[in-house]
């Protein structure tokens, strides 16, 4: 019980909020770039700054789900982790400043999809937390 609480509240929730924020920021920069509010050099360096930390964090989170036995969460996160690993292996994970406009649309879509995905994870997390809280209160009452 206590471990579970730590998992959901201390690890899962903040991590995913961070992922969500990072994805949101990246989408924001990309749309700024599209409407010419930022130059491609700044845009790609700002985005690239967040990419590796996000990949590592996401990978760790996935591993943690596996080791703590949260199978559903693990199954949810593992495809994304695999995709990240694949991008990294192909060396396509960073935004290439010289080609950024050519891939702009695809990158944006990819990030919006990730945004939705992280949001889903957060909803699940919150749901589990609430569930846990209700359960905990219930058991207190008794």
């Amino acid at each position: 019980m206590g471990l579970d609480l730590i998992f959901w509240l201390v690890i899962c929730f903040p991590l995913n909020v961070a992922f969500l924020a990072s994805a949101f920021y990246q989408v924001l920069i990309l749309s700024d770039l599209e409407s010419d509010f930022v130059n491609p050099y700044d845009a790609s360096s700002r985005i690239n700054y967040f990419i590796l930390p996000e990949f590592i964090g996401q990978g760790l989170f996935c591993a943690l789900c596996l080791f703590t036995g949260h199978w559903i969460m693990f199954l949810l996160t593992v495809p994304v982790t695999c995709y990240h690993v694949m991008l990294y292996m192909k060396r396509q994970h960073l935004i290439d400043v010289t080609e950024v406009f050519r891939v702009l649309n695809a990158e944006k879509k990819f990030r919006i999809a990730k945004l939705a995905y992280y949001l889903t994870i957060i909803i699940i997390t919150v749901f589990r937390l609430v569930l846990m809280g209700v359960y905990y209160l219930d058991s207190e009452d008794e």
């Binding site: 770039l33 010419d36 050099y41 060396r91 400043v97 010289t98 406009f101 050519r102």
Partner: protein, 1013 residues
């Protein structure tokens, strides 16, 4: 003329016409004469052709009509009486209504006199003969007088000649007065073109004239040729009945040769672009204030009015822009200075003032042609309007009458003071560079160019050399000798001196000269094998980052030390044909992309000269040029004795041509259309802004557009290319090219106005880009598929009304597309697989295709092959008369006669081919005493005899047509393997070779695929 072959094809068809033909054809080009009367026509009207094209419009009512008809046939007049016979459309536009009639009668006489002059015409006319039937097209004339209202014009396209001709005339007059109201004109335009096109079958003669330019001597014949099977149908219908039907029919050039059972294309009838690239004149007539096609060419000079229409045009839709092309014939681009006012622009869409803007309210306001916003005229720019609504000062305002102007940009167009021209040379001095003699050639060439570097007296110059260490040179003007500073710490690069590495040329001139004199001897005994290219690049960047400028890299070996070192790759044949194949054509180390991005940011443009005889990874090095608007020059296995001349010329051209510095380019268009992708050497700084640190007249950029709105409501679409740059003199300028094109609603119009040159340019750039992410095979298939789709859609337009079985149809405007597609697939960049072309050469060829102008690209894809021995031997032909060596031959082995001497010129090199049984004195005279020696060791130099001087003259002429590259001559003897194979035979694109299909077979493949829909 080159068209012996072409000539023949016509032969068969001729019969009908021949009686007439005989008389006139003879006149024009007697020289070749062997052929019977009928042949002459084929002979090539070509050279003259261009002028002709002009004529129709020139006013020459009479001119237009006459030659065609009269020349070849007396018969016409007779036909004429038949009201139904339409006069050739072209005739219609030129002459006043009455004209046609008179002319015909007249025709018979003029033949002798006029014909001579009009030789060109005649030639065409003669081709026409096959069509005697064709005359029918002409009846139109009668209508003309009535001057049909422009309104009709819209529909006409389909109608074919009937409708169009009438419209034709109206438009014409309209021109002068109506310039402003471009919209108005647009519609008419359409109509008239169809007319032209329509002529194919019957009207060919007519057709010819409008299109002359395209046709070349060659073309005309194909249409005729089919006589055997297909032609009959073609010609018959027109006579018979429905004119509309006939027109459509004619509009197609079809060719088939039912041989026995299988459809086969007779190679002699296939269209060949022996005239080279011909710029379309369509728009020049419609919108005389447009910029010249040498600056901007659209793949089709019409914008589809709806997305659904655009989606049926399967070929690329876009533009090819060469913003600094050398203006034609010594014209100068007018420079306009608005000071003290700012540049006049639309306040909403930022369009620059141009001839299509209309002034209203007594001159106080102007309406933007692009976004229709009503703007105030700045008080400094105010002028009254005259009675016709034009500004009274229009004649003093080139920006209101010309499609291409330059504005002087005021301070708000600068982020920093205009930079001076900066040249920095980074030279490899490792042992291989020393041995090849490259250093000496480079040093001498630079020295000889010092006086001609643009931008005196502000020009700055600097040098660095590298092997396993980096050497800088302090050239401070107070020194008498340059001081060499060596940096050997490659991991932590620093610049030994903050200033004085880049110095003002006029101040330090003597130091620079001393340095260049000593450069080649300085490293004479260098035995260093290594190349610290990456660190050297970084240090050059540090030196230049203050100002920007041009960085010229001379690289002779694979970078082996420090950051950016590269591995040998590309020698593994197993990678080809797998999914990893494209990786070989991409930069291996991201360092190069990063450096390129930094270079572009700091306004540095990089030109890479590579010389190695081993693998140098052009794919990686070329990246530097790719994103900085640079260029790649590749001299495989450079030896100064052999290739020195080429390097000298190309480096000189690079250093002395007019260059625009720290430039950005944008192409604007009206709402509803947007440019989506850009192809070429540049870096995008925002979605539609091309950053070009240095750009010159030899670079072209391509872009594709897409429709954003489902339906365009305007009649005319405007494009405006603006290049903001710093001229070498230090003035900030904006070069603006404005172009108006009609918006059309019919697919047929889009095809009619298509521009093969621009399409091929875009297609090849797309194909090269495809090779960077996919296999070569896929890129070739994509090209073929695109062509097939385009032709299939075209076929579907006509499949309903006509029996098309066994025939391949294509629009007149795209008749060379198939051949260029084939040539593209067989070009150095896309050909074969591992064994066919060394990887470096392939990458270098790809880089060339991505930058060159349309003209050069077409020349590269379909080089000229010219027979020289007659010119060399015939003393009677004056040496200045180079006309006889303008006749290009089809690129097939059959064109080569073993008694002849031929020159093959693709714009990058010349190959001189000696036939096996060529007369010995030719060889002796041209090559001197060692004529029997192996040709690879012989270089071509001028000998002291007339024949050799003549050859030199020919070479000089070929080289002078376009100086962007220098054609080094290679000599080859017939049967000298393997040299003959890879130098010449592999490049005869019409012949089948190895796994590559020949022209006839390729056409067959395409036509099969087109028909399986």
């Amino acid at each position: 003329m080159g068209t012996e072959n072409p000539g023949r094809p016509t032969f068969p068809s001729r019969p009908a016409s021949s009686p007439f033909g005989a008389a006139q054809p003879v006149t024009p080009f007697s020289s070749t004469g062997p052929v019977a009367g009928s042949e002459p026509p084929p002979y090539r009207p070509t050279p003259p052709a261009p002028p002709q094209a002009a004529t129709p419009f020139s006013s020459a009512g009479p001119a237009a009509a006459r030659p065609g008809a009269p020349g070849f046939r007396p018969a016409p007049p007779g036909r004429f009486s038949d009201p139904s016979i339409p006069p050739p459309p072209r005739a219609s536009n030129a002459p006043p209504p009455g004209g046609p009639y008179q002319q015909f009668p007249a025709a018979p006489f003029p033949p002798t006199t006029q014909q001579q002059q009009r030789a060109p015409m005649m030639g065409q006319a003669s081709q026409a003969p096959p069509f005697p039937a064709s005359l029918p097209a002409q009846p139109q004339m009668p209508f003309v007088p009535m001057g049909s209202p422009p309104s009709q014009s819209a529909a006409p396209a389909h109608l074919g000649p009937n409708a169009p001709p009438p419209t034709f005339q109206p438009t014409f007059p309209g021109y002068p007065s109506k310039q402003a109201g471009a919209e108005m004109q647009a519609p008419p335009m359409h109509s008239n073109f169809p007319a032209n096109q329509g002529n194919y079958g019957p009207a060919p003669p007519a057709a010819a004239s409008p299109f002359l330019s395209h046709q070349g001597g060659y073309v005309p014949s194909p249409p005729m040729a089919p006589p055997v099977g297909m032609q009959q149908p073609g010609s018959v219908p027109p006579m018979g009945s429905v004119q509309g039907l006939a027109e459509d029919f004619n509009a197609l050039t079809m060719q088939t040769r039912p041989g026995t059972m299988d459809p086969l294309f007779d190679p002699k009838e296939l269209p060949r672009p022996l005239e080279g690239d011909v710029e379309s004149k369509n728009l020049a007539d419609m919108y005389p204030m447009n910029c010249s096609p040498r600056y901007v060419r659209l793949t089709t000079s019409a914008v589809p009015s709806s997305q659904s229409l655009a989606s049926r045009w399967h070929l690329p839709l876009g533009a090819v822009v060469c913003p600094l092309a050398e203006p034609p014939g010594g014209e100068e681009v007018p420079i306009v200075n608005f000071a003290p006012a700012s540049v006049v622009r639309c306040r909403r869409c930022r369009t620059y003032v141009n001839p299509y803007m209309t002034f209203t309210e007594a001159g106080r306001k102007f309406r933007c042609n692009v976004c229709t916003l009503l703007n105030d005229v700045p008080s400094e720019y105010y002028a009254q309007l005259d009675a016709t609504g034009k500004r009274v000062d229009i004649n003093q305002r080139p920006e209101l009458t010309k499609g291409t102007v330059e504005f002087v940009a005021p301070a708000e167009y600068m982020v920093r003071p205009p930079m001076p021209p900066v040249y920095f040379f980074l030279i490899d001095v490792s042992i291989s560079a020393v041995r090849s003699g490259m250093i000496e050639v480079v040093a001498n060439t630079i020295k000889s160019c010092l006086d001609e570097l643009p931008g005196f007296p502000r020009t700055q110059i600097g040098f660095a050399t590298f092997d396993s260490t980096i050497h800088f040179y302090n050239m401070k003007s107070s020194l008498t000798q340059p001081q060499m500073l060596v940096v050997s710490d490659l991991d932590d690069i620093f610049i030994p001196l903050p200033d004085d590495l880049l110095v003002n040329l006029s101040e330090s001139r003597s130091v620079v000269e001393t340095f260049l004199d000593s450069l080649s001897t300085m490293f004479q005994d260098n035995v260093n094998l290594e190349s610290a290219f990456g660190p050297a690049l970084k240090s050059a960047f540090m030196v230049m980052s203050q100002l920007g400028g041009k960085l010229l890299i001379f690289q002779n070996s694979l970078p082996s030390l420090g950051v950016g070192r590269l591995k040998l790759r590309g020698d593994d044949s197993r990678v080809y044909g797998t999914d990893k194949e494209h990786g070989l054509r991409l930069p291996e180390d991201p360092f190069y992309k990063q450096m390129a991005a930094e270079f572009s940011k700091y306004q540095i443009s990089t030109n890479v000269y590579a010389f190695s005889d081993k693998y140098t990874d052009i794919a990686s090095l070329g990246t530097l040029a790719k994103y900085t608007a640079g260029q790649v020059y590749y001299y495989p296995a450079f030896q100064s004795a052999i290739h020195g001349e080429k390097l000298r010329h190309e480096l000189r051209r690079d250093l002395t041509r007019e260059t625009a510095w720290e430039a950005v380019m944008r192409i604007r268009c009206a709402k509803g259309v947007r440019f989506t992708t850009y192809h070429g050497n540049f870096m995008l700084r925002s979605t539609d802004l091309l950053a070009l640190p240095a750009v010159d007249c030899d670079k072209a950029f391509a872009m594709q557009l897409s429709l954003e709105e489902t339906l365009l409501t305007t009649q005319t679409m405007y494009f405006q290319v603006a290049l903001l740059y710093t001229a070498s003199c230090g003035e900030r300028r904006i070069r603006v090219h404005t172009m108006a094109v009609p918006v059309v609603t019919e697919l047929a119009d889009i095809y009619r106005l298509a521009d093969t040159g621009a399409i091929v340019s875009l297609l090849s750039r797309l194909a090269i880009e495809k090779t960077l992410s996919q296999k070569l095979e896929d890129a070739r298939t994509a090209v073929q598929l695109r062509i097939v789709k385009g032709l299939r859609e075209y076929r579907n337009l006509y499949a309903v009304q006509h029996r098309l079985a066994n025939r391949m149809i294509y629009p007149e405007s795209l008749k060379f597309l198939m051949l260029y597609g084939l040539a593209l697939c067989r070009s150095t960049a896309l050909r074969g697989g591992y064994g066919d072309v060394p990887l470096d050469e392939r990458c270098a060829a790809g880089h060339i295709i991505m930058t060159v102008t349309i003209k050069r690209l077409l020349k590269l894809l379909y080089p000229s092959l010219i027979r020289l021995d007659e010119y060399l031997l015939k003393a009677s032909v004056p040496a200045d008369d180079l006309k006889s060596v303008e006749r290009r031959l089809p690129l097939t082995g059959e064109s080569l006669d073993s008694r002849g001497l031929y020159i093959y010129d693709d714009g990058f090199r010349c190959i001189i081919w000696f036939g096996r049984v060529i007369s010995p004195d030719i060889a002796k005279n041209l090559l001197g005493a060692d004529f029997a020696a192996e040709l690879s060791k012989t270089t071509l130099g001028e000998q002291d005899n007339e024949m050799s001087r003549r050859l030199m003259r020919v070479l000089e002429k070929l080289r002078n047509t376009d100086r962007a590259y220098y054609q080094l001559s290679h000599l080859v003897r017939q049967g000298e393997q393997p040299k003959e194979g890879f130098l010449l035979l592999a490049n005869l694109v019409e012949d089948q070779m190895g796994g590559n299909s020949g022209y006839a077979e390729w056409m067959l493949q395409i036509s099969r695929q087109v028909q399986q829909s």
